[in-house]
Structures are given as structure tokens and as C-alpha cells.
């Protein structure tokens, strides 16, 4: 099985966000960047599939030069190859252009399945996997919490989370795209030898020139969704701590919920 995994580098979830002076983006200087947490589940799943059926795990990442750090993390976990899609022309793109460029890169490699995270925790779009599937004319399953493969039959059985605790079992023909959710597995830590090896691995770089695309298709120009201003939501302030013995405090709270908040 050849497995392609698309990953993104994002700010650590711990990050306190500060906006730039013209409120068009966040300040990225000095903040810690990590592999998108959902993509870790995708990388782990790919490694598990490789361990079971053999094959190769290839990481693809569209992003700035700095994203190489996230790629190295994936290589250190055990991925075989990596491609960075980096070009000034790609900047300012949206889910549509990201999926388009990734799909072009994917059509240059061999894969039986494609894994991604269910969403990137920076722009929270959860659209790239579906765009990839559409451009490559493949089926996809999103919010995947279980995956069983039947390589001989070129089939997979994916369990996906829907709503209210419900899950669906979907049978899908391969190749296909799967967008991974927490609960699918427990991502491994990179081993020390893994980290040493990853440092020396060559990471292939591809830019606009390597694809049959022009400037109008990619980056801000090709985007279908135009970003406007950013703002910070109003900060919540601390309210009151209800004093007194616990039984009194509980009664008082319930009274407040009825009278002030009008909930009960």
C-alpha cells in the first residue's frame, strides 16, 4: 500500500493570538508552530497501514519554508518521503487552491490511499480533503475514527463520527481520501534514531513551474473565498463567586439562573 498524507503546520493550540496592526492576519513571529494535531492521527494511521501491508508513506505539505519542521516531525515518526509545495505564488490561497495544488502533486506520485486531518486548527475550514477528492475524482470519508482495509478487494471500511454519538460505517472503493479524527489511534512519538534520520532526509520541493497551473489558478488570485478583516471576540470577564455554605450557594446559583439568566 502506498499512502500519501497531507499535513499542515499550524500555531500550537496553547498560543495566545495577537492581531497584526491592520487586522489582516495574526502575528506569527515568535509563536510556536506544530504539525496540525489532526494530521498526527493521519500520519500515525499511515504508518500502521505500512507496518501491516508494506509500502511507502509520502508526506505532502503546502506552506512556507518553515513548514519543513512539521515535515521533519512526520519523517521522524517514520514516514519515508516528503514533498514541500512552496512558491510565493501559492501565498494567500484558500481551501480551493490548496486542494488544487495538492491534487496536482498527488497526481505525480503513486498512492492507494490519501490521508489528511479532518480540519486544520488554524483556519478551521475542513474543506481540503473534499476538494482533493473532487479534483482527483475519488470518493472520500470525513471525520474518520476507524479504518479497516481490504487491499485484495481494493476496498476499505471506514467508521465516521456524525452527531449525537452516532457513527456510520461506510464501505468505499480504493483509492480514496480519508480525513482523520481524534480517536482513530494514538500518535507515536518520534524516536531518537528517527529524529536523526529525519534530519538527513532530502525533502523534495515543488513550485508552480512543476505543475500545469498558472498564476490565476493559485494563491490569493485563484482563491474563491476572499478573506476580510480579523477581529478578536469580546473578552469574557469574571463574574461573581457565590459565597456561603455549599447548600446555600447551590440554591442561590439556581435562583440566579432563573432570575438573571432566565434559563430555568
Amino acid at each position: 500500500m502506498n499512502i500519501a498524507v497531507c499535513i499542515k503546520q499550524v500555531p500550537d493550540t496553547e498560543t495566545k493570538i495577537v492581531l497584526n496592526p491592520d487586522s489582516t492576519d495574526i502575528v506569527t513571529e515568535g509563536i510556536k508552530l506544530v504539525m496540525n494535531p489532526y494530521d498526527e492521527y493521519a500520519v500515525e494511521e499511515a504508518l500502521k497501514i505500512k507496518e501491516k501491508y508494506g509500502g511507502k508513506v509520502t508526506i505532502l505539505c503546502l506552506g512556507p519554508e518553515k513548514s519543513i519542521e512539521a515535515i521533519r516531525t512526520a519523517l521522524a515518526m517514520g514516514a519515508d518521503d516528503a514533498v514541500l509545495l512552496n512558491d510565493p505564488a501559492f501565498e494567500g490561497g484558500d481551501s480551493f487552491t490548496t486542494a488544487l495544488v495538492l491534487s496536482k502533486a498527488l497526481s505525480q506520485i503513486e498512492y492507494d490511499i490519501i490521508l489528511t486531518g479532518k480540519q486544520a486548527v488554524d483556519l478551521d475550514c475542513s474543506q481540503v480533503y473534499a476538494g482533493l477528492a473532487e479534483f482527483l475524482n475519488l470518493p472520500y470519508v470525513s471525520v474518520v475514527v476507524g479504518l479497516e482495509l481490504f487491499p485484495d478487494q481494493k476496498k476499505a471500511l471506514a467508521k465516521r463520527e456524525t452527531e449525537g454519538g452516532e457513527k456510520e460505517l461506510i464501505e468505499v472503493s480504493l483509492p480514496a481520501v480519508f480525513a482523520c479524527q481524534k480517536d482513530l489511534n494514538t500518535p507515536r512519538y518520534a524516536s531518537l534514531p528517527g529524529i536523526m534520520k529525519a534530519k538527513k532526509k532530502e525533502i523534495k520541493k515543488l513550485g508552480l513551474a512543476e505543475f500545469c497551473l498558472n498564476l490565476e489558478h493559485v494563491g490569493a488570485k485563484g482563491s474563491k473565498l476572499k478573506k476580510g478583516k480579523y477581529s478578536l471576540p469580546p473578552q469574557r470577564k469574571a463574574g461573581i463567586k457565590i459565597e456561603g455554605e455549599i447548600p446555600e450557594a447551590a440554591a442561590k446559583l439556581v435562583k440566579l439562573l432563573r432570575e438573571e439568566a432566565k434559563i430555568i
Partner: protein
């Protein structure tokens, strides 16, 4: 005539609340651009449902009726919706940011070569005919404005629970238009094998009005019972949630995790029991209208964000709250 289209979501013969919310929003948009408001629904045996949407504001209802739509699959739904949209050319296409809407709309948008603003908390129509949307990013730590500016239709998914449902006009009838897809079961590459029901019959967190959430302070799985009891006392529209620490310790299933890498929720009331209030947890629930914190540590950061707090042992506080809520409810 172009139109404002909404995807009507239904389950087990009933519309989901988001369908009425989308129609109510659609009416507002229509009052600005004068285009007709249309509902779109797919399913099998849904003629009766299609006839119910006029009173909620739909001028027209397009429905795709076929056995192949009996259960939702992004593959078949994308095909049906894209064909219809191409032939009718609406200017706006709205869905709920529900499990279904979020799974389906990205592919429809890509097929139609248009833009999609996902998971919006505010949608308004500008004078130029473009929708001004606001969507939370970084799990709600930032709000971003976005427009679909060059392509049609403008596609948006709206977070549930934000729009008040406007009054129903029972005399209003919609024109109902049935179509049949040019699609066969054999052509599909995906198949729904089975639906696995959840443990509880509670509603989904993203739709809940009240959420009672437990953290590491719950100590073990069985203790979540006291949260269930409090939720039951509040009654309908209440769900139980959990912090990641509670989920990772195995006290609660992952699908009820609230936070940056869990669900982002927007209830009227959020009660955090034994939750410290980490930045990742706050990201998921900070837009709740009222926050209550119960924690034995008076320095817990959650108190900095809570409207009401009780410093104390949750195993003492929660059952007393349940009792008080029941008492108040029985008094009417």
C-alpha cells in the same frame, strides 16, 4: 430568476431545527435582494416533507426523490445538488454547519468551482449583492470576515442555534417541484453499511441549549452519572460534555469533547464541573451565553471567565444543584 437556496436537512421524517433557522435567515436576505427563497431537499418518500416548508417561508421547494437518496452519502448528494444548481443557477446556497453540511458542501463547492465560507456565525447581505460572513478561526480565538466574491453561487454553512425562527404563516404555500436524478446505485463508490447508535439518546452538543460538562475532577467514568442527572433535571435541549483530560482518562467518549480539538459549542448555559479552564477548553465554549464554574480550587483559571462560580467539591455541589433545579421546576 436567481434565488436564495437553503438545504433542508431532515432525519427520520422530521426536519432538523437548522432547516427552520436557515429559512428564517433566508427570509431576511430575501427582503434585501428580492430573490425567491427556495428549499432543496433530497431523500426517499419525502413528498410530504416537501409540502411542509411553505409556512416557514419557502417560495419554492425543489426535491430530489429517489431510493438512492434514502441514506446520506456525500457522493450521491453532491451529484444531485450540483446538477440542479447548474440548471437553476441560484445566487446563494446555504446549509447548516452540521455533520452533514460540513461533509457535503466542500465537495459541492469544489465541483461548482465556487467558494464556501464554512461554519459562519453571522451572515448578512451587502448592497453589492455579496454576503458578508463572519467565521470563527483558531477555534473561536479570532473572528474572520469572508466573502465569495467572484463566483456563483455564494456558498455558506451556518452554525446551528444562532438564528431565531421567525413566525410561521400557515396560509403560505410553496410551489413544489420534484426531480429524479440520473444516478444509479451501481455507479457509487461509497455505501452506507450501518449506523451505529450512540450510548445516550441526548442531542448533539452543538445543538444543545444547556451543557453540563465534566473534567479531570470527575475522577472516574461512573461519576458522570451525576452530570447526567443534572442534565435530566434541566430537561430537553440539555447535553453532557467533557474536557479532553476527562476523555483521555477514559471517563467520557471522545464525541462529547469540548474544545479546540473537540466540539465548539454555543449553548445558553455551560456548567463546567471539575474543569480548570485551559486555553484549549475555553476555545470551545467561550461563546456560551452564561458560564458556571464549579471547582474546588479558587485559583482555577475557569473562574476568570465564568459568570457564576462556586468554589467547592463538585461531588457535593452537583447533586445539590440537581435537587434545587428539580425543586424550582416542580414549583413551576
Amino acid at each position: 430568476m436567481p434565488g436564495i437556496w437553503i438545504l433542508a436537512e431532515h432525519k427520520e421524517g422530521k426536519f432538523k431545527k437548522i432547516t427552520y433557522e436557515l429559512l428564517s435567515l433566508g427570509k431576511k436576505l430575501k427582503s434585501k435582494n428580492g430573490e425567491e427563497l427556495c428549499a432543496l431537499l433530497l431523500g426517499s418518500g419525502i413528498e410530504n416533507l416537501a409540502n411542509q416548508l411553505g409556512p416557514y417561508g419557502a417560495d419554492k421547494v425543489y426535491y430530489l426523490e429517489d431510493e438512492v437518496y434514502k441514506s446520506y452519502l456525500n457522493e450521491s448528494y453532491t451529484q444531485g445538488i450540483s446538477e440542479l444548481v447548474k440548471s437553476q443557477d441560484p445566487s446563494i446556497l446555504l446549509a447548516g454547519a452540521t455533520a452533514l453540511g460540513k461533509d457535503l458542501f466542500p465537495r459541492v463547492a469544489t465541483r461548482l468551482g465556487t467558494g464556501l465560507a464554512m461554519d459562519c456565525v453571522s451572515i448578512d447581505l451587502g448592497d453589492n449583492g455579496l454576503l458578508k460572513t463572519v467565521r470563527p478561526i483558531y477555534a473561536g480565538k479570532v473572528l474572520m470576515e469572508a466573502t465569495v466574491h467572484q463566483t456563483k453561487p455564494q456558498m455558506v454553512t451556518l452554525r446551528p442555534n444562532l438564528v431565531e425562527i421567525s413566525p410561521v404563516d400557515s396560509s403560505k404555500k410553496a410551489e413544489v417541484i420534484k426531480s429524479k436524478p440520473d444516478l444509479k446505485r451501481e455507479d457509487l463508490r461509497t455505501m452506507l453499511k450501518e449506523i451505529l447508535k450512540g450510548e445516550s439518546k441526548k442531542i448533539d452538543l452543538t445543538e444543545a441549549k444547556i451543557i453540563v460538562s465534566g473534567g479531570r475532577g470527575m475522577k472516574e467514568k461512573d461519576n458522570f452519572k451525576i452530570l447526567e442527572e443534572l442534565a435530566d433535571a434541566f430537561g430537553e435541549g440539555t447535553a453532557v460534555g467533557a474536557s479532553r483530560a476527562a476523555v483521555d482518562s477514559g471517563y467520557a467518549p471522545h464525541d462529547i469533547q469540548v474544545g479546540q480539538t473537540g466540539k465548539v459549542v454555543n449553548p445558553t448555559l455551560y456548567i463546567a464541573c471539575g474543569i480548570s479552564g485551559s486555553i484549549q477548553h475555553l476555545a470551545g465554549m467561550a461563546t456560551s451565553k452564561y458560564i458556571v464554574a464549579i471547582n474546588k480550587d479558587p485559583e482555577a483559571p475557569i473562574f476568570q471567565k465564568a459568570d457564576y462560580g462556586i468554589v467547592g467539591d463538585l461531588f457535593q455541589v452537583v447533586p445539590l444543584l440537581t435537587r434545587e433545579v428539580k425543586k424550582l421546576k416542580s414549583e413551576g
